[in-house]
């Protein structure tokens, strides 16, 4: 068994491309006057979300996203921020999931989710200047503007029910995952927008339509790449939503989080803002034509 690790050696081209993409992301945001920051990986609690399970670290947790510290920075007066960091989510493992993965988050003060859609289009233009990519034999046109499809329209187009009905029957996630997601973003990238308000714990409701929240997910070639919001800035509303999510977490047997009082207090000072989290490993999958997330990281947990 003295053979070199042939499979690891075979990742060379993709690892080189990954390093180039990371440099490209940093250059893109620095050119646009975003401040790169690092926030602690180890935290007393995450923003409570019903279906995101944390990895414990001593009495605290590894963060599942840097969202709360990033918003505290926004509230303190930093208008444009980005971070590239490792995040941890327990028991998430599949061809597109790793329990430890790399996230890119960026935030803009005085902006809503439309500005983030423009950022996504521009970021891909910077990373793939040819204006297209080929993934698993399919060519995808990256030229702006990308498709904008509301959740309501997607249910009408790809299912025989409505988002509202699917939620009532507890079939929303299954229909998104099995009927909608696989069809999105094959000709051009697709922003799936305007989620039912109850599915966006940290998002602002759409002015004039409180049934939906200003949240979008970016899909390319059926791959979910990013999640974005116009941020909720009302501390009381946020506190109430956290309490609901935390109750659901506890009911599912998850460890309790302390109430993020500092975040909630400082939220009152946060300007109108929008933020987005993008999966860097999946971005590398798309740009290097990799079928699975395993191919774009040095080691998977199973290889350690």
């Amino acid at each position: 068994m003295a053979e070199p690790n042939w499979r690891l050696a075979g990742k060379r081209d993709r690892l080189m491309e990954r390093a180039r993409i990371l440099r490209g992301i940093r250059a893109f945001f620095m050119d646009r006057d975003f401040l790169e920051v690092e926030t602690p990986h180890r935290v007393p609690g995450n923003a409570p979300e019903a279906y995101i399970a944390p990895v414990p670290s001593g009495d605290w947790f590894l963060h599942s996203s840097p969202e709360l510290p990033m918003k505290r920075l926004l509230a303190a007066g930093y208008p444009r921020l980005f971070q590239i960091c490792r995040c941890w989510r327990a028991a998430e493992r599949g061809s597109r999931h790793l329990p430890e993965f790399t996230m890119l988050e960026w935030y803009r003060a005085q902006a809503d989710y439309h500005a983030l859609m423009d950022d996504c289009e521009a970021l891909f233009h910077a990373l793939a200047p040819s204006g297209h990519l080929t993934w698993q034999g399919r060519a995808i046109d990256l030229g702006p503007p990308w498709e904008r499809l509301s959740v309501a329209e997607a249910f009408a187009r790809y299912t025989d029910t409505t988002a509202h009905q699917a939620l009532a029957e507890d079939r929303f996630d299954e229909l998104i995952a099995c009927a909608i997601e696989p069809r999105l973003g094959w000709d051009k990238p697709c922003f799936l927008t305007d989620y039912p308000a109850e599915l966006a714990a940290l998002a602002r409701k759409k002015p004039g339509n409180p049934e939906v929240a200003e949240r979008f997910e970016l899909y390319i070639a059926g791959l979910e790449l990013a999640n974005a919001f116009s941020e909720l800035t009302d501390p009381e509303e946020q506190r109430a939503r956290f309490a609901r999510e935390e109750a659901q977490r506890l009911q599912a047997g998850q460890p309790p989080y302390p109430v993020p009082d500092r975040f909630l207090a400082e939220l009152a000072h946060m300007p109108p803002a929008a933020g987005i989290a993008l999966g860097v490993d999946r971005l590398v999958m798309l740009l290097t034509d990799a079928a699975t997330i395993d191919e774009v990281v040095t080691f998977t947990p199973e290889e350690l």
Partner: protein, 187 residues
């Protein structure tokens, strides 16, 4: 009982009262939603294939199958023939039932034949088998990049990716659970 975190390719479980094997598996989680476990299942009796998605909290009964030690004898027009070495009973399995497992059978190999009642419905292979490479492109001298790979065909007709230093006539170890190259074996 199994729960969702046990689900993986190759797991055998009861679905609607009949034994099924998971032939493809993926975990997914849409947006900020619930974890979903997507399975492609094969009914081990009828052979029919279908997709089913499970969610956290569901549990599954293991397939009630008896493992019987048998020896692989040969292939003929009736299929693949195995013999119980104690009772000398012979059973036949079709090419379709064996699926890709047929590529990892070597004459006289010992395998576990899976019985559902009196019926043979599949086999469990050893985790690793050694097979001889019958065709692959020659190693180009000077191609020292350790990561380069190329296709190779082994004696059973199976084709897989191997490192560039593997040559025709080499014996290689293959992981039957994934079908992937593991290492070269010295004869």
């Amino acid at each position: 009982m199994y729960n969702c975190s046990d689900l993986k390719k190759g797991l055998k479980l009861m679905v609607d009262g009949e034994p099924h094997v998971i032939v493809a598996f993926d975990f997914t989680k849409p947006g900020k939603g619930q974890a979903l476990y997507k399975c492609k299942l094969r009914n081990m009796i009828t052979g029919s294939l279908f997709d089913r998605t499970y969610r956290s909290g569901e549990s599954f009964e293991p397939a009630s199958l008896e493992d019987r030690d048998m020896q692989y004898l040969y292939q003929d027009e009736s299929g693949y023939v195995f013999m119980d070495q104690k009772s000398f009973d012979q059973v036949h399995l079709s090419e379709e039932t064996l699926g890709d497992d047929k590529y990892f059978l070597i004459d006289n190999m010992n395998v576990n034949v899976l019985m559902f009642g009196e019926r043979a419905i599949g086999i469990t292979l050893p985790n690793f088998v050694n097979l001889k490479v019958t065709h692959t492109d020659p190693w180009v001298k000077g191609d020292t990049a350790a990561g380069n790979n190329k296709p190779a065909t082994v004696e059973t007709g199976y084709t897989l990716q191997v490192p560039s230093f593997v040559e025709e006539g080499d014996l290689i170890q293959i992981d039957t659970r994934t079908g992937a190259y593991n290492t070269r074996v010295k004869e």
